[in-house]
């Protein structure tokens, strides 16, 4: 399928799953699982950073309009979209690997561990910034820390399950691009 069409479908699917499935699960007051930002993690390598950030803002804003208090999710999404290219540069196995594959996955980042680091850092940043903004008005540092850690663990678990359930076909492109 065309990459463009694929991403459009993903955008809506992730928001619907987040709002109507994950938000309805009340595990515990400390645990709020988030999955929708996997859209940003899965964006293609080739995409420009400006576009990534604008798309992330759009995704966050769509989430926020369901919550009726704009700003929180947009801010968190823009943050991880800004950090993402730096992380890809650090973790990519060899020069030019990002040209061989289309988007980040276990395969394209060269194994389980680099990809796990990649998603963990982004998840911690997303949750941390989101809960920090939310907790700002309450000013309880321990509550914020525990909530971030627990939610990150659950979200990471969800992301790994999603990766295993929906294996994305990563074609190896030749270097003659």
């Amino acid at each position: 399928m065309n990459l463009f069409v694929k991403n459009i479908i993903r955008f809506f699917l992730f928001i619907l799953v987040q709002v109507f499935v994950l938000d309805k699960i009340h595990l515990h007051q400390m645990v709020t699982p988030y999955l929708y930002f996997l859209f940003i993690i899965w964006l293609p390598f080739r995409m420009g950073r400006t576009q990534q950030m604008l798309l992330a803002f759009l995704l966050g804003f769509a989430m926020d309009s369901f919550r009726h208090h704009p700003g929180f999710h947009s801010a968190a999404c823009v943050l991880i979209a800004y950090i993402r290219p730096f992380l890809v540069n650090i973790l990519i196995p060899q020069e030019g690997a990002d040209a061989n594959y289309e988007e980040p996955s276990f395969k394209s980042l060269g194994g389980f561990l680099p990809y796990l680091i990649f998603i963990s850092v982004l998840t911690v940043l997303h949750h941390g910034w989101l809960f920090l903004l939310e907790a700002w008005q309450f000013g309880n540092i321990w509550y914020f820390l525990v909530k971030t850690l627990l939610s990150t663990a659950v979200s990471l678990f969800l992301i790994i399950i999603t990766e295993m359930l929906f294996t994305r076909q990563q074609r190896f492109k030749t270097n003659t691009v």
Partner: protein, 285 residues
Amino acid sequence: MRNIFLFVRRYFNFLLFLLLQGFCIYLIVHYSKYHNAIFSKTANQVTGKINREYNSITSYFSLKRTNDSLVAANEMLYNKLKADFALPDTASNFLVDSIKVDSMERFRKYHYYPAKVVYNSVASQNNFIVLSRGASQNIKKDMGVIDPNTGVVGIVTEVSNGYAVVMSMLHKDSHLSGKLLKGGETGTLNWDGKAPNIISLGGIPKTAKVAVGDTVISSGFSTSIPKGMMMGIVQEVKSDKSTNNHLIKFRSSANFYNLEFVYVIDNKQTEEIKAILEKEKQKTQ
């Protein structure tokens, strides 16, 4: 000048990042200003429609619970009927009030509109409820919202044509006024953002006698919610060492996890009260 352009071009991504973050934080801080904007109305309309579609499926799963709560509400109303009360003896005589009243409608104070909940959140720090009833069905801003068993739910903060957004009691900006049924002391409600259904009641002096199990009702000081609506049952009483007040936590009587139907309260005298307050304000200025 050329250097400025070069600088902007070199750090364009970083500047865009700062700009977007700044914009987001502006939205968070200036929320109340923003939410009068036209955009929020359209967004409200779109997300409301999606929520209604979803709710039309999920509402079947809670039919039994909805029925039970309606039966309980009916029971309460039946017990308030005039026919349930008899005069103690036959010697007392009836007096007919001779003052003629043209229409009862003019003297009606509260009107209740039923509404269906299509979206509800409890997990966030600022929770909202969306009702599938809006400005074209007589819902206005600042109306109070209760559940079928007269438990206070929240206040309408935003209205579009077909939908209304309610700020539930589980919101950090929600400061309704509550009252202890036994002693009559009034205080302010606020939510600490942690456990849903547990709300704290501040401003009750230590001289007031409070025990676990006491009832908290609405004070009726605001124009939104009438006096005597159930707010909750006191669950924990501590004395605050730094002030002269109790620290009271109560469990809300409305269960925010499974709201299905609610009633929106229209106070017919809101305009009049507001007009007087406005006059008073102008006098003191």
